[in-house]
């Protein structure tokens, strides 16, 4: 067991050591351990106060929007008799799977100044000026809220669903009106869930990169993550500042995530019993059509419009879509799939996705088993270490990995191996959480019974444990696969000329101003992800069925 645990813990902790040492390094940035150590990198952070304020502004705005969207949608879909009901629930997760990168580019096409499709339609009505300029701090926050804030919906609807309906019913029976029950009982009971969603989403927004990158850089509007990237691109690269910024961001995220966890643990009343309730929906009368309209509007701005815009752009001959004079072509897809560097980026991502998911599920399965089923001393500490990458912004982690592996005499820098190792490390929390949920769902006595019946460990695994875990393992595999092919933050530092992957390649195409090509690539990425998502939802459904 130690043979599996130690390398995994090292994978997580080793890059962090490099970030810390680099942040203190004021000598030659390429020398480890640093020759001259000082805190001056941190002292210089005071010059970055405007950037920190930018970050806070965007993060607060994005969190506010995401939580409002999440709360309204969660309430409509879990607590009202909206037509269609629960069938919309999974669709709400689609924007997250579409990725903030694709979302940001799509909204760039939709609401860019002058040429944005929505602005063009606005001009057709005779209006002057732009309806909306997405290349603005609020525009960035809007995209982040739509494509990075899905977690708010997931967390809040989980809180609303886990509430025992009898708590509300007893308030009604004791004479409380609908409104009084909503404010006196329902709201206080879901408040901890909402509060922890706010804090959790805020931490997520602090570490967000793609939207600020696509929509902020053209107007030289920087947040911490894009500033980190920028300082590594200058000549000579200012790694000290990047590391100091990264470490500060990491600390801020750790603190916020700890607060979120504390709220969750301390603040939740006995509403979370582990039992899945389906609270009785409130009859909102004709208001249900309004509710349906809200849900549809959300799907329109978060899924339909962005995909439509990108689809249209991807068939264009010229970068800018002028509605009146567009020329359609399939060339962009031909280029994207051609066996040049771009084509290989797509293939590389697939290779990485499949192998990281396969090896990841195997190793993480063993880890999960050690953490949740064995009696190994110190297993909670192990869990804590392995969950660490959750609190480290991808970009910062990528930076640490970059330095860590450059300074190891194994020549894997610039190869897919390094990307594979990086993906495995940053997806440890995702994989462990998914697999743990599966393992904990399978009652221990099912395995114990096989044991008492005389089956040895191998036989038990083959005939009982693995068949029962299969749907959950498949779900974990798909989630890691999806996460791998959409990965951006860590890949952007670690990919080399011979090891291009799809998301950074899309960014490169976008930066070289060929939005029609990047749109085609984004469509390919989105299509692949959606196929995986459909399979995932199918698997999840069979899992629910065998569970019951």
């Amino acid at each position: 067991m130690v043979l599996v645990l130690l390398p995994c813990a090292a994978l997580v902790l080793y890059p962090l050591v490099f970030i810390i040492s680099e942040s203190l390094n004021v000598g030659d940035p390429g020398v480890f351990p640093p020759e001259i150590i000082s805190l001056s990198n941190f002292a210089r952070l005071k010059d970055d106060v405007p950037i920190i304020l930018n970050t806070l502004y965007v993060s607060v705005a994005a969190t506010a929007m995401a939580v409002v969207f999440g709360f309204v949608l969660a309430w409509i879909l879990t607590r009202t008799n909206v037509p269609g009901g629960g069938r919309f629930e999974r669709l709400m997760e689609l924007p997250y799977y579409m990725t903030p990168l694709v979302g940001a580019m799509a909204w760039g096409v939709l609401a860019g100044p002058k040429t944005g499709l929505l602005n063009q339609v606005w001009h057709l009505t005779g209006a002057t000026g732009d309806l909306f300029n997405i290349y603005s701090p609020l525009g960035i926050a809007w995209v982040m809220a739509l494509f990075e804030g899905t977690v708010a919906f997931v967390m809040i609807s989980a809180a609303m669903k886990s509430m025992d309906p009898s708590l509300e019913e007893s308030a009604r029976v004791l004479g409380g009106s609908k409104l009084r029950t909503a404010f006196g009982i329902t709201l206080p009971l879901v408040a901890p869930g909402v509060l922890s969603a706010i804090v959790f989403v805020f931490a997520e927004m602090l570490g967000a990169f793609a939207a600020a990158f696509v929509l902020g850089i053209p107007g030289r509007f920087y947040v911490i993550t894009t500033a980190i990237w920028e300082s590594t691109q200058s000549f000579p690269p200012d790694y000290g500042t990047a590391a100091a910024l990264g470490l500060s961001l990491f600390l801020a995220m750790t603190v916020t995530l700890t607060i979120a966890r504390l709220i969750m643990r301390k603040g939740t009343y006995a509403t979370i019993t582990g039992k899945a309730f389906r609270p009785r929906p409130v009859n909102v009368g004709a208001g249900r059509w309004l509710c349906l309209a809200v849900v549809m509007a959300y799907l329109l701005v978060a899924v339909i419009l962005p995909i439509g815009a990108l689809l249209m752009t991807s068939f264009q001959k010229f970068a800018t879509v002028i509605l009146a004079q567009s020329i359609f072509t399939l060339d962009n897809y031909r280029t994207a799939l051609a066996t040049g560097t771009l084509g290989s980026a797509f293939v590389n991502s697939m290779i990485l996705g499949v192998s990281v998911a396969t090896i990841g599920v195997l190793v993480m399965g063993v880890l999960t088993w050690i953490i949740y089923r064995s009696r190994l001393p110190g297993r909670t500490a192990i869990e804590y270490v392995l969950m660490f990458p959750q609190a480290v912004p991808r970009l910062v982690f990528g930076l640490g990995l970059l330095w860590a592996w450059i300074n190891i005499p194994i020549p894997i820098y610039g190869t897919l191996w390094l990307l594979g190792i990086a993906y495995f490390t940053v997806f440890l929390p995702l994989g462990l959480r998914t697999l743990a949920g599966v393992v904990l769902q399978v009652d221990r006595s099912l395995e114990e019974c096989a044991c008492v019946c005389g089956a040895g460990w191998m036989h038990r695994m083959r005939t009982v444990s693995l068949p029962l875990l299969r749907p959950g393992i498949a779900a974990a595999w798909l989630l890691i696969f999806i996460a791998s092919i959409r990965e951006l933050g860590a890949s952007i530092f670690l990919m080399g000329p011979q090891s291009k992957v799809i998301s950074p390649a899309i960014i490169n195409a976008w930066l070289s101003a060929s939005s029609e090509l990047s749109a085609a690539m984004a469509m390919l990425l989105t299509a692949t992800i959606f196929i995986a998502v459909i399979v995932l939802f199918g698997v999840a459904r069979t899992f629910v069925r065998t569970d019951a």
């Binding site: 006595s445 019974c449 044991c451 008492v452 019946c453 089956a455 036989h459 038990r460 009982v464 065998t546």
Partner: protein, 363 residues
């Protein structure tokens, strides 16, 4: 029956860090017997059972099955669960949802690589015994609670284990099904003459199906006895209180002897005849509520019976019995009578019970 007991436990302790779940437990069970581990939740009964099965590692102690040592802390013997050759019915039934009923039942036989024909005939026999032969091809996930319970039993007996363990097997069934299954389980166990250990927190169930009941409290054994002895002669205050409905009357022993004299707090003097020696320091007299009879007209003193007078404070009709709360000199007395004798609330009654139904206990 004599010879080597089927199950022997000695000095068994199970501790998790500082928390001692099972504390120096020792007992033995003869071949073909059914013994019940009875106690409130957290008393260590399930932990003891799981230690016998090999699912829990004891801290110290010895466990022998049919004379073979399967656990001995001093000799560092710990045979893994799958090689102890026993079988178990789990509280959650643990029916594998991805197999059919027949596949579930055949599991233990397949693991033992029995020939195909033998597997088929044993599965059929086991399913017949629990009246589930019509369900062999059903997916196991499509069964009701009671059916799952039967399949779990069939699976446990299919490979003819030498010892069968039951971990609260009936606790998830509704009351009526529970009493039916209780009879069936006992009949099955006696027909197969299979040595069984049965864990339950339901004292009625324990009394009904056991050859011997082992009462546990806070990790220790309080008493091991046949059900009727346990009921009539509880050895401790805990047993008197936990098993059956008992009145615990406080007072002091005035005189010891073959027939002792006990004076209750209210000054009521009672005679106690007990086979156990009385030390004189006992402060509690335990009296089963169904060992008391009530009469509305004053009764002539019948031999050496204890007689007192009281009034009916409250009457509760339970169907199978009527429960009275009687005010009498020693406080309040719970009395259970058959529904054929109905006495109105407020009526004066004469109370009578025999000295041999009184048990003296210390704190």
């Amino acid at each position: 029956m004599s010879g080597t007991p089927s199950i022997e436990i000695d000095g068994l302790c199970v501790a998790y860090g500082d928390a001692v779940a099972v504390d120096r437990v020792a007992f033995s069970i003869q071949q073909g017997e059914l013994a019940t581990l009875l106690g409130p939740s957290g008393c260590g009964k399930t932990t003891t059972l799981r230690a016998i099965a090999g699912l829990e590692d004891p801290t110290t102690g010895v466990i022998r099955l049919n004379g073979d040592t399967v656990f001995d802390s001093a000799r560092r013997i710990n045979v893994p669960a799958e090689r102890r050759g026993l079988s178990m019915v789990f509280q959650s039934y643990a029916i594998w949802p991805h197999m059919t009923v027949a596949e579930n039942v055949a599991y233990g036989l397949k693991v033992r690589r029995r020939p195909r024909a033998e597997i088929d005939s044993n599965v059929k026999r086991a399913l017949d015994l629990v009246q589930m032969s019509a369900f062999g091809d059903r997916p196991a996930s499509k069964l009701s609670g009671g059916q799952q319970q039967r399949v779990a039993v069939a699976r446990a007996i299919a490979f003819s284990p030498s010892v069968l363990l039951f971990d609260e097997p009936l606790s998830n069934l509704d009351a009526k099904l529970r009493t039916e299954m209780r009879v069936e389980l006992r009949e099955l166990q006696q027909r197969l003459e299979i040595t069984s250990v049965y864990v339950t927190h339901d004292q009625e169930e324990a009394l009904a199906i056991s050859d011997h009941v082992i009462v546990m409290n806070q990790g220790r054994i309080e008493q091991i006895d046949a059900p009727e002895v346990l009921y009539n002669r509880p050895a401790s205050l805990f047993v008197a209180d936990f098993v059956g409905a008992a009145n615990l009357i406080e007072g002091t022993v005035r005189q010891t002897g073959p027939v002792s004299v006990f004076e209750t707090r209210g000054g009521q003097v009672l005679r106690v005849a007990t086979p156990r020696s009385v030390t004189g320091s006992e402060t509690i007299l335990a009296l089963r509520s169904s060992h008391v009879s009530l009469q509305t007209e004053p009764s002539a003193a019948a031999g050496d019976a204890n007689v007192a007078t009281g009034t009916v404070h409250r009457r509760m009709f339970h169907g199978d019995f009527v429960q009275y709360v009687i005010d009498w000199p020693a406080g309040q007395l719970l009395v259970r009578r058959p529904p054929t004798e109905m006495i109105a609330e407020g009526a004066a009654v004469s109370i009578m019970f025999l000295p041999e139904h009184c048990v003296l206990l210390g704190r």
